[in-house]
Subunit: 227 residues, 2 copies
DNA sequence: CTGTTACTGTGTACTCATTCACAAGCTTTG
DNA sequence: CAAAGCTTGTGAATGAGTACACAGTAACAG
């Protein structure tokens, strides 16, 4: 009989200090930061939890709880200092300084990602670019020289990254992931609709656009009854 | 005292029959279907819940529970018929037939989406394409004629869609959404990192790549302790 | 035809996330 | 200077989602 020994990989929570942080909480932190930057652009200096909460469609209690997991950042009757809170959130999210990211695959999607200005604004830079197509290797694409995926180990040794974006074909993907993990890459954002396995401590974020459309389609077909 | 009356828009669950379905469940259904198609490609006819569950990294109990919310599809000692289950899931997700989708914005991202073959494979077709740039309006891009966003109402009347993908600039986005909703569009997949408001019954799925990277960054910086 | 095996579907228990509701405390005003 | 007003941070209660564990049963072997 085959016993299912393999445990579920996806960690439902992370640690901070000694505390468990829900992954959903982390996602909300991103949203808070983005909205705070909008507010800052509009000249706001302070914001109350109920205001910020309304912008991002969560309850004020949830917002306060989320922040309180990491410390006390609010002024008890002025609310939160917008600039300060942005700084705090950037620190938590690890984007206080520009962070290098690797990109695997320079097809249509890869080139679009290279051209996208939003990453650098939010603290990420696609520094290291790989492909397996001899026609692309060595060429400069959108300002980045394209390396041979076969030389990933050597290249990553010279340009270490924590995060890699996967935008290539599914063939051979698992072995690329394995080699990247061995080279020290700790997390992946994958646009490839295929299951990949990683050891504990390494994270994979799947980006499946068709799945998102299917979710919307379900909601439309089975008309959601809202109160 | 000011009471917060506005309720959170994002419905945490949908209805099916008289039953509440968690949004997370719907997302898993997509994954199940995708993996089932892989299995079918490998010639599998039947699959047990513990096998399929392992492929998608959930517990067998969760998989069976998810499916049982919609009916009984398993053979009690052969497991699930792969072909049948794919058909069932396609029906649930509303992708038994090709479904038309609108696209707003034909910049870098928009063109990449138009060129992406994965949508049609999973039952979606970007039928109606809009932009506001006079240089693009009227031209045929990736096989689709580009319409003027100013004429959205008339175009959507002739080509009704339930779902629209937003891949344009943030300026004026809310008013585009409002007009689309008035024209009968019921859900949006937005690549624009901006808050948009929709009435109850309309759904928005945000696709914020930087947010995904921030989440991964958090996990890397605050090293997750796994058992 | 009967016994054995092993799977599905589901009541039940449990864990984790969210919300409630209030104590503590800045700030401002009279 | 004192009191009022409205805020944050958080213990406690609620609610939602997940996992356990088993009753019921199809399939197959003898």
């Amino acid at each position: 009989m085959k016993s299912i020994r393999k445990q579920v990989e996806t960690a439902p929570s992370a640690q901070f200090g000694g505390r468990r942080i829900a992954l959903q909480t982390i996602e909300r932190l991103s949203t808070y930061r983005r909205v705070l930057e909008d507010l800052q652009g509009q000249g706001a200096q302070y914001v109350y939890s109920h205001q910020l909460a309304e912008y991002v469609s969560v309850t004020p209690a949830q917002l306060r709880r989320d922040l309180s997991l990491f410390g006390s950042f609010g002024n008890i009757s002025r609310g939160y200092n917008v600039q300060h809170l942005i700084t705090v959130l950037s620190g938590l999210l690890g984007t206080s300084e520009i962070q290098p990211v690797a990109l695997v695959g320079v097809g249509n999607l890869g080139r679009t990602l290279l051209a996208y200005g939003g990453f650098i604004e939010r603290g990420f830079s696609l520094e290291v670019v790989f492909d397996s197509d001899p026609a692309k290797i060595g060429r400069v694409i959108a300002g980045r020289r394209c390396f041979d995926i076969a030389e990933a180990e050597a290249v990553l040794a010279g340009h270490p990254v924590d995060i890699a974006i996967l935008a290539c074909q599914p063939q051979g993907l698992q072995s690329i992931v394995d080699r990247f993990v061995a080279a020290g890459v700790q997390s992946f954002l994958s646009f490839v609709p295929a299951i990949i396995r990683v050891p504990p401590g390494v994270h994979v974020e799947m980006e499946d656009l068709s799945a998102k459309l299917e979710k919307l389609s379900f909601l439309v077909k089975n008309r959601v009854e809202e109160e």
